[in-house]
Symmetry: C2
């Protein structure tokens, strides 16, 4: 799957992931109105609104980006009805040949991580049958519990040829509270980076990149440069561009010399582009076209930053 991701990045010339993180406040009036007319102002109505909104965006961007990253929290907030839409969204993205990164940030003791890995990336045994659960292509993982919490995910990924992005240095303001603390003179995120490199060292695709990558926030470019060196074979999933404040120039250190090695996420900067002054002309009816334009502009921003480095 890492090779598919890279081949699609090359084809689209877009090291971009669209974060499908729907909030009702992003969804144009006409979609909400129609869903609520059909299902009432209910969780099911909210689910329908999110689904129609996602679908229109996916249809507008599937040919210009390699991958999407649905953030499962934004679906779980609507309970079971939301999780149903998460599943529908994953399935629909895959039918459009998009690589799907499940942003689930799971991680637990061994047997529990195994259950998460099975549910999100692998197959579960029921009697004599086997079934996929949510069936994403990649998942994000939290490393706080150490190797035995990560190992079951790696095991399932080996079986399924799927991949992981493990939190190293996250994009949020207080990420340094624990992640930056010095241990034997080096911050915790570097120790995590070392482990990421180890966990993925012998699980490498034809591209030369490992199936085990890391999450490093665009909001911390200097730390990104260091982690880039520590984990030369690991793809870096870079959140924090756009709405969280990072710009194209902040991204260059996350990439290797070959122009690969990083894939940059933008969520509301793309899916809620129609609400920005810059894309106002599209109006609420053409919100998905605004999203497509925001992708193209982001692609240009990153390309220019990489050219001028």
């Amino acid at each position: 799957m890492i090779d598919k991701l890279i081949s699609k990045i090359k084809k689209t010339q877009a090291p971009i992931v669209v974060g499908l993180d729907p909030m009702l406040k992003f969804i144009p009036e006409q979609i909400q109105k129609k869903a609520f007319e059909e299902y009432g102002e209910t969780l099911q109505g909210a689910g329908e609104a999110i689904w129609q909104y996602n679908k229109e965006i996916i249809d507008a961007i599937y040919d210009v980006v390699p991958a999407v990253k649905p953030q499962i929290a934004m679906y779980e907030q609507f309970g079971l009805e939301g999780v149903k839409v998460f599943q529908k969204t994953v399935d629909y993205c895959k039918s459009r040949d998009l690589v799907v990164i499940g942003d689930i940030k799971r991680g637990d003791i061994g047997s529990t991580s195994e259950a998460y890995a099975i549910g999100h990336l692998g197959k579960v045994q029921v009697g004599s049958q086997e079934y996929y659960g949510f069936n994403e292509d990649f998942a994000t993982i939290n490393p706080y519990m150490g190797t035995d919490a990560v190992a079951p995910f790696v095991k399932v990924c080996r079986e399924e040829k799927k991949g992981l992005f493990i939190l190293a240095k996250t994009s949020n303001p207080s990420s340094g509270e624990f992640q930056d603390r010095l241990i034997d003179g080096r911050p915790l995120y570097e120790w995590v980076g070392e482990k990421v490199a180890q966990w993925g060292a012998d699980f490498v695709g034809e591209s030369g990149y490992s199936y085990v990558g890391a999450v490093v926030g665009a909001t911390y470019p200097e730390q990104g440069m260091i982690l880039r060196e520590i984990m030369p074979k690991s793809y870096i999933l870079v959140p924090g561009y756009g709405a969280q404040g990072a710009k194209g120039a902040d991204l260059v250190h996350f990439f290797n010399e070959d122009g690969l090695g990083a894939v940059v996420n933008s969520s509301r900067g793309i899916i809620a582009a129609w609400q920005q002054e810059k894309y106002k002309a599209f109006g609420p009816e053409r919100f998905a076209e605004a999203s497509r334009q925001a992708v193209l502009d982001m692609r240009t921003d990153i390309a220019q930053a990489l050219e001028s480095r």
Copy 2:
């Protein structure tokens, strides 16, 4: 909710949480057979088997324990059908007046943690209406991303009078890989413990205990003793008893002098008791009675350990 938990612990004399972490291999033949006859060897069939199994156990233990802890991974492994059973299980436990600790170990950047908090503990706004999602009473949280990842959970808990257990020192063998690393001479889990105490300092119930507790594995009694001192007002959720190897004597340091301050989880030690040599006489038909007996034995084990400390 912390006061309700404590009052129920006092009433049942059982500082015990039953981990509702179903695996098909724990479920007696007769239940699986019936579910598969009705729904086939499908995800729905697996869901039905888990639901009937959970329900029978809950009916057998609800009056002798204060709380249950469904581990959501064990439901997510069956995809959407599993998550449906998670919801049904939470609802049913609440109808039996059990305190429900959602073992979800979530944690993300602020806006995303807010969505998780809303979905699992709070209410989501849909048009002019508000709805609960999964509606657990407590949730477990991963602290790796720092204060702004935890704050939205605390905010929702204040509104709903619900509580949290934040991972400090986990029960798994490799938990020390990062959690034990020394920062300014003290292990990371102590720094997390200090933060747990801060996050919950001004959010305290009538019992004197905070709504913000911590997870500390029974498998690490010495670390438990230190964390007990660092977080005097925090309840400690203690996994690792039974199947993971910890015994009653390992638990004493997690409790305060008042006999409160800790609640000990056992999952397969209780729900799969019928498969143990010790409870073999119950047989597969009376598996739920075996679970009840395992709870009573665990209560005695803990009481004896506390008496002889």
